[in-house]
Every structure is written in C-alpha cells, then in structure tokens.
Amino acid sequence: MSAAISRSAGWQSLLPLVVIAVVAVPLAAQSVTVRTVANALHVQARGFSFIEGPVLTRLKEGRSVRIDFELTVLTKPDGPSTKQAAQGFTLSFDLWEERFAVSRIGSPPRSISHLRPRDAENWCLENLTVPVSSLGFGRDTPFWIRLAYRVHDVAPEVNQAPDERYTLRGLIDRLSRRREEADLAKSVDAGPFRLP
C-alpha cells in the first residue's frame, strides 16, 4: 500500500514537469531573438517556418511564390507600433539543383540561390530589418516584436475523391487543408527585448 502511495506521489510530482514540457516545447520550437548589426535590428525566429505545406508544393511544381513580411516593433504587448518594416520576397525552387532561390523585391535587388529550406527562410529574415535609430528609445527600454508573413496567390488544394469525402481519411484531409490555409499567413509575437 505504501509503495502504491509512493508511486502515486511520484507521478504527481512528475505532473508539473509534464505540463511545463508540454507548454515549453512549442515555445522553444518557435523562439524569437533579436540582434543589432550596425544600425539595423535583425530578428531570428527559430521554428518560424513558411516553406512547407501548399507553399512547398507550389515551389516543387516549379512555380514561384511571393511572400510579404512585416516586422513591427511594439512598446507593449499588443500595444502601439513604434516602427514597422515590410519586405516582399520571391521564392522559387531550382528543379535541377534541388535548392531554393530567393529574391528580395524592391531596390536594391538582391538574390541568392542554392539554399536549403531553413537557410532560405533565414535569408528572408536577415533581409528584414528596422533601423535602430528610428526606434526612438534607449537600451533600457523594453520592446516587443511582431513578425508576420502572408503568402500571395496560393490556394490550398480542394480536390478530393468523392468516396473519401465522408470517410475518416476525408476528415483528416479536410483538417489538414485547414492547417494549410493557416500556413498561408502567420504571425508571432515575442518580447520583452532590450537593445543589445
């Protein structure tokens, strides 16, 4: 009996750890950090993937995809925007090299190829910066970051075999499609940060 109580107490003590793990793993999987290089504030967002789902499908079909990013600096969580930067990119997938190419839209033009998916995503974020001098606050002031993207002209697949419409597989497909739709626009908020 005492052994049973002891085992039960052991499980109860593990429970908070499990809860922490469940909560922490997704947070850790999508962590945002900031750094400054010269006068530019850069964002790194591990796990903030966008070359996946319908975007990846379209790229693998040899088509290009345009993605617009917005980086917003906030003085409070959900508070007013201090500064916002927007930048568009065109992505394509080199069918013969089997690597991704990214071009920054606007001037000056910049392009790069032979990238793996994560490297292509990081390249986009590296080219999305806010001038530190435009923020108007010092190193001791906390700030928050909102990073968002939107994919243009990509529709999730709608075709489905008729006999799969009302089956478990059909249901899974429909739920997956909802996930695909969510993949076409995403936003993440993080903070507080201080200027390094």
Partner: protein, 510 residues
C-alpha cells in the same frame, strides 16, 4: 585604374547572360564552335567574375583543367561548384574549338539579381524542352497552340508563360488552368505543363445574385452566397431576396437555402435540395386585374417551397433532371388557410461550345422543362407548365451577337408564381410587365437579338404573353446600352406602345 561605369557593367552582364543561355550571340560566330569531347584544353577563362573570389581548392581545380581532355560533365560540375560557393550568381560553361583543334573553356558567370526573369523564378535559366497541355487540347484555338509551342527551345519566359496561362483561361471559361514545371529529359531542360481541369458533367446552378433597377418597377436585389470552391463537388448556398420584382409577377422577399452535389458516386449523377420561404407583396395593377379574373388562383402572402431534384448527365453537354416541388401558399385574404402547389418536375438541357480559329467562339444552349402539379401529390392546384428556351451566342474579337427564344405554355390552374411574364430587365426591355399583363399569362413567346461591340449593345426584343381565352398581341422593343461582363446600363423603347415611355434599366448580376 579607371572606375568601371555601371552601365558598362550591366551591358556586360546582359551579354554574358545571352552567352550563358546559349542564345545566338556567340553561336553566330563560326570560329567559336563547340569543342568536341576529349579535345585538349589549352586555356580557361572566367567571365563576369574573379577567379580569386573562389576557394583555393576550386581555383586549383579550374586551373588544372589546362592540358586535360575536355569533359563536359566535369565542367558542369565545376560550374555547379561555383554556384554553390557563390549563391548570388548563376554559372554556365562552354568549351569552344580553336583552329589548332584544342579547346578553350569559358566559365560564364552572372548575378541572378541582374536578370528579372531569374529573380522571378530561378528555373528561367533553363531551356524549355516541351510544352504540354493536359486536358481538352482540341478546344484550344490553333493560334494559341502555336503560341504555346513558341516557348520551346528558349529560356523559360515567365511573363510570356503567364500571358499564355491567362489566354487559356479566357478561351476555356469555367475551367481551371494550372501551370507547373518539371525536369526535362536532359540536364538543364524543363517541361512546362498547362493542366486544364475538365468541365464537370453537372454544373452548379448559376448564382442569382443581382441588384437591378428598372425605372418603372424599382429596385430588385438578390444575394446568393455559395460556400464552396469552383472545383468542389458539393456546394451549399444561402441566399436572400430583397423586393425582387424583376423575375416574377409577384414581388418577393425572403431567403433560400440550397445544397447541391454534382457527383454522387459518379460524375454523371447529381442532386439538389432547396428550401425557400418568400413573403409576397402585390402591385395595384395585379390586385385590380385579379378582381376581374376570378378564374385565376388566389393571391398568397407567403410561399414556402421544398424542392428536391436529381440530375443525370449523358455526357458533359446533355443532362436530364427530375424531382418534385412542394409549395405551400398561405392565402392573402384568408390566412392561415393555404393551398398546395405540388408538382413533378422533368427537364432536359444541352449546351455546346465551339472554339474556332480567328478568335471565333460560338455557344448554343437549349432546355425544356415541364412542371406537372397533380392530385396524386396532394396538390390543390392542378396544372402543367411547359417552358422551352434556346440561346445562341457568337463572339469574334470585340463583337458579340446573341439570339434567344423562349416558348411557354400552361394548362390548368397555375398559381401566380408559375405564370409567365414579359417586360423586365431581360425580356421586352422597354415595356413594363404590369402594362402588358399584370397577372402574367398562360402562353408566352419571346425572342431577342442583341449585338455588342466592345461594351456597347443594341437589341431588338419581340414577345407576347396571353391567356388561353384572350387574343395574343405581339409587342416589340428596342434599345441600346453599355454592358460589361456582369453589369449593364440600358435604355429601352417600346415600339408599338400607345404611349412613348422610355425605360431605363441598370444593374449588376454576379
């Protein structure tokens, strides 16, 4: 050292790209013919890029080519290594013959950002090997087929491919066109595939959304909200009507809910369920006319209808449909008493599209429908309603001609929503239906011819609506207007009217 001018750098880059992509700039030079495999390399050059920007290992491998036999596969691997080390550039390699039989190797390097096609899609560096159309190839005009094949043998021109994509969608209305690229049979070659998704055998009922103004009848509004994508097999539609006086003799407001499936096990079988509830208001002209025509079924204050139907398609062009329509008509003068108008439905319809050369398109549609309300369905009103319609449309360039014919015939005691009327925004334009026949009629014929050039239209309508015991009077109208794909602005003139009223009509159907 002189500073290099930017425009000269750009010109050199452009020239390099032409060379890089095998265009005739270099090929035109007979002295620079491709060197044969195995020819001894006596010189190596890199154009558009500094050799010293590369890693020492790659520099060494490139320099060591001198004196070795030409091996194209090995050269391509070196070009690929240049791209991997310098991902902002594309590189190609060429071995050209020298007069002494030896080979000169040139690595041609250019920045991706200097070429708009490459920045749009990196696959624009490759040569199009084939252009394929998956779908109804025969329905594409010869001109467009020829233009599609012009992509072959050239670098992929993404803008041109997009224009061709749009032309395909225009020539094949109602169908989805998708474009994809895949690897060709040789390295550096690609296939461009245009996928055309077949038109479904059974189509969803067209949306009835409209906002229409008729200077003698006022505003009519219907909003249908279909919930599905264009390629979906099922669709749910919620619709509302606001004082729609344009369609029937009655003016009605209310809602409808419809569920349609165009594939039930097979694409040949579809079904539709519709439920609607509309409240009616009646024009004074109708109330007055009814008082002197006691034989016509009474007016109702609301109409509740449930209509399940099934459709069978023999092929994508010919369909039959059948079902029942159950309507409860709550009496206007004797509420809550009501009458039932329950009918069998049967119809057949067909259409065909001809796509010829020289941008000529012809479309023909025809349909016949009978609604038979019988005692066997517990109907209080017993009648048969026949309606035949045909429409022909011819388009060439900016010109468009449309001809249509409708014939209707009712026997028995049909309720007012089944009776025919003419004189609205689509029939006998210029006339007011409440001047022609405020109770509608049991017999009807209508024909219309219309010519449109660009957005300007002229028309001539002819028609008559009458009852079995009355004399038919043929009416004519003409007019002109401005039409776009879904909006119109029309002025109509009744030609054999006692007065000379001009009717103004405008609206949008979407």
């Amino acid at each position: 050292m002189a500073r290099r001018l930017p425009w000269r750098r750009d010109m050199r880059t452009l020239a390099l790209l032409f060379v890089l992509l095998g265009l005739p700039l270099v090929a035109a030079n007979a002295q620079e013919a491709d060197a044969p495999e195995g020819a001894v390399i006596d010189a190596v050059e890199i154009s558009g890029f500094s050799l010293y920007s590369l890693s020492p290992g790659l520099q060494k491998d490139i320099n060591s080519l001198v004196g070795s036999p030409l091996n194209r596969e090995g050269l391509n691997q070196l070009a690929s290594r240049i791209e991997q080390e310098q991902p902002e550039v594309v590189a190609a390699v060429r071995g050209v013959s020298r007069p002494d039989g030896k080979a000169r190797v040139i690595f041609l390097v250019a920045r991706i950002s200097d070429d708009t096609d490459l920045t749009e899609n990196i696959n624009a560096r490759y040569i199009v090997e084939t252009v394929d159309v998956e779908g109804p190839y025969n329905e594409i005009s010869q001109q467009l087929r020829d233009d599609l094949q012009k992509l072959v043998g050239r670098r992929l021109d993404t803008d041109e491919a997009e224009r061709l994509h749009e032309r395909l969608e225009k020539e094949l209305p109602g169908r989805d066109v998708a474009r994809r690229i895949s690897k060709g049979s040789q390295t550096g070659r690609i296939r461009v595939v245009f996928e055309i998704f077949e038109e479904p055998w059974i189509r969803f009922a067209p949306t009835r959304s409209k906002l229409v103004y008729h200077s003698q009848q006022g505003w009519s509004g219907v909003l249908d909200i279909p919930m599905s994508s264009s390629r979906s097999r099922h669709r749910f539609t919620a619709g509302v009507a606001f004082n729609d006086i344009d369609e029937l003799i009655e003016e009605y407001s209310g809602f409808r809910l419809a569920f349609e499936s165009r594939v039930i096990g097979t694409e040949k079988l579809g079904a539709r369920l519709e439920f609607s509830r509309y409240n009616q208001t009646w024009e004074d002209a109708t109330l007055t006319a009814l008082a002197s025509n006691p034989g016509i079924p009474e007016l109702y204050r609301n109409r509740l209808t449930f209509e399940p139907t099934a459709t069978f398609a023999f092929n994508p062009r010919v369909r039959i449909n059948g079902g029942i329509s159950i309507s409860e008509l709550e009496s206007l003068s004797n509420s809550p008493n009501s009458q039932m108008a329950n009918a069998w439905l049967f119809g057949i319809s067909g259409d065909h599209l001809w796509q010829g050369s020289n941008d000529v398109r012809q479309r023909a549609e025809a349909s016949y429908q009978i609604r038979a309300a019988v005692k066997g369905l517990d109907s209080d009103l017993v009648y048969k309603r026949h309606l035949g319609q045909a429409r022909y449309q011819f388009e060439q360039g900016r010109s468009e001609a449309i001809a249509s014919l409708s014939l209707g015939y009712i026997t028995g005691d049909a309720p007012l929503f089944e009776r025919f009327s003419l004189g609205n925004s689509t029939t006998l334009r210029g006339w007011d239906k409440y001047d022609i026949s405020p109770l509608g009629g049991e017999r009807m014929f209508h024909s219309s011819v219309e010519y449109r050039y660009s957005h300007v239209a002229v028309f001539f309508d002819t028609g008559s609506v009458w009852d079995r015991n009355t004399e038919s009077k043929i009416r004519y109208s003409t007019g002109f207007g401005i039409h776009s794909d879904n909006s119109f602005l029309t002025v109509g003139f009744p030609l054999n009217s006692d007065g000379a009223d001009v009717t103004f009509m405008a609206g949008v159907r979407f």
